[in-house]
Amino acid sequence: MTDPLVLCIALPLLGAMLVTALPRWAVTLGIVAALSTASAAVALTATVWQHGTLHLMLGGWDAELAIALRADGIATALVLMANLVGLGISVYATGYFHDRIRVRSFWPLWLLLWAALNGLFLAGDLFNLYVMLELLGIAAAALGALTGNRDAVAANLRYLLVGLLGSISYLLGVALLYTAYGTLDLGLLAQGVAASPELYGVNAAAMTLMVAGLALKAALFPLHFWLPPAHANAPAPVSAALSALVVKAAFYLILRLWLDLFWPITDMAVAMLPAMLGAVAVIWGSWRALRAERLKLLAAYSTVAQIGYLFLFLPLLAATPPGPARDDLLAALLLMALTHGFAKAGFFLAAGLVQTNAGHDRIDDLGGTAQRLPATTFAIALSGSALIGLPPSGSFIGKWLLMQGAIATGQWWWVIVVTAGTLLASAYIFRVLSRAFGLEPTPLKFVTDARAEVPALTLALVSVALLGLASGPLWTLLGLGDAGGGA
């Protein structure tokens, strides 16, 4: 029963090894690995759906000694999103990279990144999470530098160093916790932290170190400085993975620590700081996106803003007692993260196609794109509407519940932030769309390059239609109890 849990991590890892060893077959083997990994993720979702939260003690040792893997509702939803987006990116990449050496560099690193993502979402052990963060950071920085130009290499070297700083800060927190509680297992540590209010200083220091390190990786304002150049200069499929998945993984980890481990000390006052930084990120990121001259830079700044929204949920969760209202907030948070994952991946893939086709991605010179690349422009519009939060996208429901929660808990000021961010987002999306139309004749073909356009379009469509109109299962997934799982 717990096999899909392992397969989600082992399959991309195995794929990465085969792709490295047999570079001539990189594309074929890469696609096979992508398909089988995504199938494992679907199987995992189905298993969790039927049986509830899964636990696995690797090696069959006691909970203290072994490394735990676990898949609950939140982890499963994110794994499913990441793997579907990953599949889309893989299909797109088969048409994007033509250079032989680039193909051989991309596939092994991409599959290693994928293994690290799944491993991070499913880990239940603090030190194992550190190893996953390292693998994720190194693979991501190497992938980001694949374009090989000076800007990309410089931006990604900075990304690598920033990532290492974040990891080390996280590791310091882990060391403090292990010293105090003598275990690395998340579940056991949570019990320890809850039972030792006298160790407030140690707990608070560990939380600060870990959350600050991860906030650096999640690009929370003002620690976002490394993100726009790194994401905007990477090859399009890599930008999509970095913006939609890698940043999200760091946020997921913050959420996990916040809700599962440090809940006894994360009260309203503590939650205010990240939320305030998130609010500034929403406004500042959206503003910089509006002022960006290049399409990919716009998308990168939009990521800074979208990550900001996720942090707004923290004080609301702290102020809401457990019950349906809190479940709604958690589901809304997840819905926004998932929608952004699909939408931003679709946006970056489409932007990459625009760049390939026009030879540049200067927003002011995009006239006629709608006529030349109708499907791509449609994908940009769709994912753009999900980024704004127009109905029926998933982020519409997410923002709605966010504002509802803000008013219900008397924190009305977040409503202003969300409204302003949404207005700015519509401004920067419509700025692109208004430039994209030109006076050229209407084309005969809607789809010009299926291999590249279909993934972008599908991801954008999922973010708007599927997540918005069929978000009910998410509540079910989150509400699933702990049904034990296998050994």
Binding site: V6, A10, L13, L14, M17, T20, A21, L56, L58, G59, W61, D62, L65, A66, I67, T94, G95, Y96, H98, D99, R100, I101, R102, S105, P108, L109, L112, A115, A116, F127, N128, V131, M132, E134, L135, I138, A139, A141, A142, A145, L146, T147, G148, V153, A175, L176, T179, A180, Y181, G182, T183, L199, G201, V202, A205, Q355, T356, N357, G359, A487
Partner: protein, 261 residues
Amino acid sequence: MSMSQSESRAAERNRDLSLLVAVSLAVLGAALTWLYFIALSAGAAPRLADLAYERLPGTGVSNPVTAVLLNYRAYDTLMELAVLLAALLGIWSLGPAAPGFQRSGAVLAGMVSWVVPLLIVTGGYLLWVGGYAPGGAFQAGALLGAAGVIVRLAGDPRAGLPGEGAQRWLLVLGVLVFTLVGLGLMAFGAGFLTYPPKFAKWLILLIEMAATVAIGVALAAAYVGGRPPGPEAQPTAEDEDALTAAETPTPDPTPALRPQP
């Protein structure tokens, strides 16, 4: 005059700033040390050490460090091998290695022919001894890597490693064997990386042998500092065909930096 004045003022400000950074780092360090001692005195004194010793008989090895690395927390070690591989692939993705150094003189060459075999034998010894005393795959791999560094310094552009094709297989050997053993155990119903005590020793030795080779090759290749030079670097006719089949217009904004096929 005013130029040098403003320069000296800037230098002064820089000095003040670095002093401020140093002082705040010292305060932070002191605070963390203090918290560390609070955590240390909070109990949980032996932490996991006692339990790790207690379960040692079922692990297949008698060295507790090896038991932690290859049995209790084998999954971490598997992923650390993947980290090493990712780092090397990152180095390779940045371009080919710089041309080799000058050939070594007679004295250095003589020393190399003594030291390298010695390093390899010592590596093998450390690998075996890891089962019951300090040693193991990482130490043995580090010695192999050091042998590669010495060979490279003596002028071999490939650091004594085989061509790219074979090098790739050696590099992935560690993670590949590790993952396949894990999945094989899962297929036989034992669970991922759950060694049956009867076979634990031999499975661990198998994994460690593969890991030693992979670590040694990865370290030596990282020292070479780029994709290995060799005939593999030239595109073959088969690759050319695949390339033209997949061609679409102007895929890259920086055509000057990409090697044209």
